[in-house]
């Protein structure tokens, strides 16, 4: 580990913010909830957490954070989107135009692709770059229908892509922050700073 802990922001508009912060702290990172444009200035990385993508997208716009998020991405800072965060990071062209898509990863997404809550599940899943199957919790989860050439696929389930990365942006359809398995968050921390 580096001597100065990495500072990671968790976008604090709606959703599972606390779980990410607790997990990041367990890994020795300096984790903070971020809500205002200048909160982003000294971050090494950002997590866009799970929640409702329509609600978070609307709040990003109302808080005038869209430009700040795009600038943060342009600076090459690490970004990790889980579940709703994955949807927000996509380029998804099939979505209703009023819903925000940041286009950080070249991919098309199927929202609620595994069904409703009664179909939600947890399981152990292989992840490219991690040496053991990781605990994965899927909650009304999306999946990635297709990716562009610059995207690396990290995990698949039943032929559906559920984790991917492009440059400094990582996305998972599931929630590593709801488990005690820190390996995916650690993988992200290694990309940051």
């Amino acid at each position: 580990m580096v001597s100065v802990p990495k500072k990671i922001g968790v976008l604090n508009l709606q959703g599972a913010v606390r779980e990410h912060i607790l997990s990041l702290k367990k890994l020795g990172a300096d984790a903070v909830a971020v809500k205002k444009a200048n909160d982003f200035d000294d971050l090494d990385g950002l997590i866009i957490p799970g929640g409702e993508s329509t609600a978070i997208g609307r709040l990003i716009r109302e808080h005038q954070l869209e430009d700040r998020l795009r600038a943060f991405h342009q600076e090459g800072k690490a970004i990790f989107g889980t579940c709703a965060g994955l949807i927000l990071c996509s380029t998804d062209a099939s979505h209703p135009t009023e819903d925000l898509r940041l286009g950080f990863i070249d991919m098309e997404v199927e929202r609620n692709g595994f069904g409703r809550q009664v179909d939600s599940f947890e399981m152990l899943l292989d992840f490219k770059g991690i040496d053991h199957p990781v605990e994965s919790v899927f909650i009304r989860a999306p999946y990635i229908k297709s990716v562009g050439p610059a995207v690396s696929i990290l995990s698949e389930l039943e032929g559906k892509i559920v984790a991917a990365e492009q440059d400094n942006v990582l996305v998972t359809a599931y929630h590593p922050e709801l488990t005690d398995d820190m390996s995916v968050l650690e993988y992200f921390l290694n990309k940051a700073g």
Partner: protein, 296 residues
């Protein structure tokens, strides 16, 4: 790789974690559901009548017509919740079979069983239940509830009972945190709560599931108040669609919930909203008619 596990505590409680900081709105048809979704609701509660109408019209209040629930499920992409009567196993199973995302075992409806709540751990679908104090909260978790909410006094537009309930629960959690392990069994007895859950709350320093505010939220300031008292999010029942300007109210309550400490913004959000729902003074409601007295 392993097999998929459905209906686990992690999956059911996790669903509620994703709703945190959000607003869940009561709706009675597809059109209201679309308005709620567009306003930024994190889920909708599909009902036949909102609590204030149930209160006004009287009679036995039951699970909504499945057709209404289905219409709402088809209208929006956000989660859809629905209410079953306390202890009504068949209503709960019917809603589960329809694939609703969360069931509220709710005192807003007329209880079907005055002694036993549902054994919620038996179901794949997660449940939310109301509570007035820590004992009630932990009894519901003991039965398998994956999410809690204050009972408040539904359909009144009066926040006083919801405030009483969240203060009570969080005050008791704070007392528990300062206790020694030797005191826990007696505290569990006094609360009427399972010992293991009392111990878990002490070790965690908080409830093991999400706790929303409900029962009397009528204005953006009410929603902000409940958040500042430690609620994880807000249910709004009659408050939105019984107001003069539902779209505006819905949007304002969503923003107030996220920005509950930004008082200048709250002032802006509260301007020109028109008439909120008409409220009821709690003392004018007879004890026997208080919905919060249903369940134990």
């Amino acid at each position: 790789m392993s097999d998929k596990i459905i209906g686990s505590a992690k999956v059911k409680r996790g669903m509620a974690e994703m709703q945190k900081g959000g607003v869940i709105m009561d709706v009675v048809n597809a059109e209201e559901a679309r308005i709620a979704e567009a306003a930024g609701a994190v889920a909708v509660m599909a009902l036949e009548r909102v609590p204030s109408d149930i209160r006004k019209e009287g009679g036995v209040a039951r699970m909504a017509d499945p057709k209404i629930v289905e219409e709402v499920m088809n209208a929006v992409s956000i989660p859809v919740m629905a209410k079953a009567r306390i202890g009504h196993i068949s209503e709960a199973r019917i809603l589960e079979s329809m694939g609703v995302d969360y069931i509220d075992e709710s005192e807003v409806l007329t209880p079907a069983d005055e002694e036993f709540h549902l054994l919620k751990s038996d179901y794949v679908v997660p449940f939310v239940c109301g509570c007035r104090d820590l004992g009630e909260a932990l009894r519901r978790i003991g039965e398998g509830a994956s999410m809690l909410r204050t009972k408040g006094e539904p359909g009144t537009g009066n926040i006083v009972e919801a405030v009483r309930h969240i203060r009570k629960v969080n005050g008791q959690v704070n007392i528990l945190k300062t206790m020694s392990n030797a005191e826990l069994m007696t505290f569990a007895r006094d609360l009427g709560a399972p010992y293991e859950l009392v111990k878990e709350v002490k070790d965690l320093g908080r409830l093991p599931v999400v706790n929303f505010a409900a029962g009397g939220v009528a204005t953006p300031a009410d929603a902000a108040l409940m958040m500042s008292l430690g609620a994880d999010g807000v249910f709004v029942g009659s408050g939105i669609f019984k107001s003069d300007t539902p779209e505006k109210f819905a949007r304002a309550i969503v923003r107030a919930t996220t920005n509950y400490e930004d008082y200048a913004l709250l002032a802006e959000l509260s301007k020109d909203l028109g008439e909120p729902m008409k409220g009821i003074e709690i003392n004018t409601i007879q004890q026997a008619e208080r919905m919060q007295e249903r369940g134990w």
